[in-house]
């Protein structure tokens, strides 16, 4: 019965943790659509983008913007959920294809150098240097050029793929095909002063605005950000209810409308179950001992010389593709970085930076990675279709990162 219990455990832990974030943000997004705030935001942002001649100019911009936002929301899947609720309708309304928009959101959190990253803190401690020194002296000189070149690859790859797949659904057709249009038909339209439209236009972006403010306040006080995505979403919902109350002066109807939030939460249950399924598969791989075996092999590689980083990156890629994450592996390898580098006769950072960056880059190429499954579930695309779009920029980034590591570190 133990395997069944593992599945049950996965349901309870996922529902209480990341699943709850997904449900809350889906509920908030549904409520924003219902009160008409999403329409105001989308029309406001798309009208400011009307002068852009080619929508593909937005590809590198959105990719880099997403990566900067990952400083505020470090979890790749949480950031993807927020961007799916806020940025996705805007990108689609500007005429960007479904697959390009999905690929950009799936690759929004990759390798931004930040001294706040827990992996950077742990590696810097193991290498006996300050986190700032490690991040800016070693991590950033590799990750920043890699990110910039990946933005260029994203531009050309997404454009090339869109040219091949020209039978793409328009946003209007997408909404109709997946039953979203019917839901939207029941929504309210915001008409009134510019001030009122501005307030409604801000509401869908409120969770991310609060998170950015919390991040800046935290930085200025020398403390890490304290607010969780869950708390921020609930605060935003409460503010939205008050805005509705003040705008409509119909307490009974406004409170009745709050049920849309709960209905929206229910509609995202499929994505949560997808995550549980992926985690059950990963637990199965753990149970047969394959992860432990690869990890043990990595820990005992000695005397590979300058090829050691390359060998370690290959193993990291295998683990990330199989499990959808390289975080656990990076932390497991941290105590071994210095002795392994010493035995190979290379500097520790020549080993730590490639392993760390490879894990974060290849996540968006794994069919069981939470971020891929969330984007696939929300956009009604197959994980394979998304991986096809993310693979070339991410593998390109991996190769650039390896070349730069050999050259600069």
């Amino acid at each position: 019965m133990k395997p069944i219990q593992v599945m049950v455990d996965q349901f309870t832990t996922t529902l209480a943790g990341p699943g709850f974030v997904i449900l809350l943000l889906a509920g908030y997004s549904a409520y924003m659509s219902y009160i008409g705030a999403n329409d105001v935001t989308v029309s406001g942002l798309t009208s400011s983008m009307k002068n852009i001649k080619s929508v593909y100019i937005l590809v590198p911009v959105v990719f880099l913007m997403g990566n900067i936002l990952s400083l505020v929301v470090p979890s790749a899947s949480n950031l993807a959920i927020i961007l799916l609720a806020t940025l996705y309708p805007v990108l689609r309304s500007t005429g960007m294809s479904r697959l390009t928009s999905a690929a950009l959101i799936a690759t929004s959190a990759t390798i931004v150098p930040t001294p706040l990253g827990s992996d950077n803190v742990a590696i810097a401690a193991a290498l006996h240097m300050s986190t700032t020194e490690y991040v800016f002296k070693y991590h950033a000189i590799i990750s920043i050029p890699t990110l910039l070149l990946m933005a260029v690859i994203q531009y050309f790859w997404q454009k090339h793929e869109d040219k091949i797949n020209q039978h793409e659904l328009s946003y209007e057709e997408e909404l109709q095909q997946y039953g979203l249009k019917e839901a939207n038909d029941e929504t309210n339209t915001i008409s009134g002063s510019k001030g009122l439209r501005f307030i409604y236009g801000i509401l869908p972006l409120l969770p991310i605005i609060i998170l950015i403010i919390d991040f800046i306040v935290g930085i200025s006080h020398g403390k890490p950000a304290t607010m969780s995505v869950q708390a921020v979403t609930i605060i935003s919902w409460i503010i939205a209810i008050f805005v509705e109350l003040f705008h409509k002066h119909q307490a009974k109807q406004t409170l009745k409308d709050t049920n849309i939030f709960i209905k929206g939460m229910g509609s995202a249950m499929g994505i949560v179950v997808l995550l549980v399924a992926a985690q059950t598969f990963v637990q199965g791989l753990n149970a047969i001992g394959i992860m432990r075996m690869i990890q043990t092999t990595m820990m005992h590689i000695k005397g590979a010389g300058i090829l050691l980083p390359l060998i370690m990156v290959i193993f990291t890629v295998i683990i990330v593709l199989l499990s959808g994450s390289g975080v656990a592996l990076t932390f497991a390898l941290i105590p071994l970085i210095v002795p392994l580098a010493k035995s190979a006769g290379i500097a520790p950072q020549q080993l730590s930076v490639p392993i760390q960056l490879a894990g974060n880059l290849l996540r968006a190429v794994s069919p069981v990675a939470a971020v891929v499954l969330i984007v696939s579930g929300s956009t009604h695309l197959e994980p394979v279709q998304i991986i096809k779009r993310t693979s070339v920029p991410m593998i390109g980034g991996l190769i650039i990162m390896l070349i730069l590591s050999f050259w600069l570190l």
Binding site: K2, P3, I4, V6, M7, D9, Q10, T13, T14, G17, P18, S75, A76, S77, N78, G270, V273, L274, L275, A277, A278, Q279, T280, F281, V282, Q283, G284, L285, N286, A287, I288, G289, I290, M291, M293, L322, S323, G324, S325, V327, A328, P367, V368, A369, A370, V371, L373, E382, P383, V384
Partner: protein, 59 residues
């Protein structure tokens, strides 16, 4: 021996997953099924079954 079995099972399960994905079948039930089969294989191989990775590891 158990290492060889683990490698064979991993390759087989990944191959099945890729095949099912290429056929555009519902990935949820495939992942659940493969996960359960691998978990039972782990039990038969005498491995200790527990929730090894925190769920955050997927993120």
């Amino acid at each position: 021996m158990s290492q060889v079995i683990a490698i064979i099972l991993t390759i087989a399960s990944v191959a099945i997953l890729c095949y099912m994905l290429s056929k555009k079948l519902d990935i949820k039930i495939i992942l659940f099924a493969l996960g359960l089969v691998l978990l039972y294989c782990g039990v038969f191989m005498g491995n200790k079954i527990k929730v090894l990775q925190p769920v955050d590891a997927l993120f």
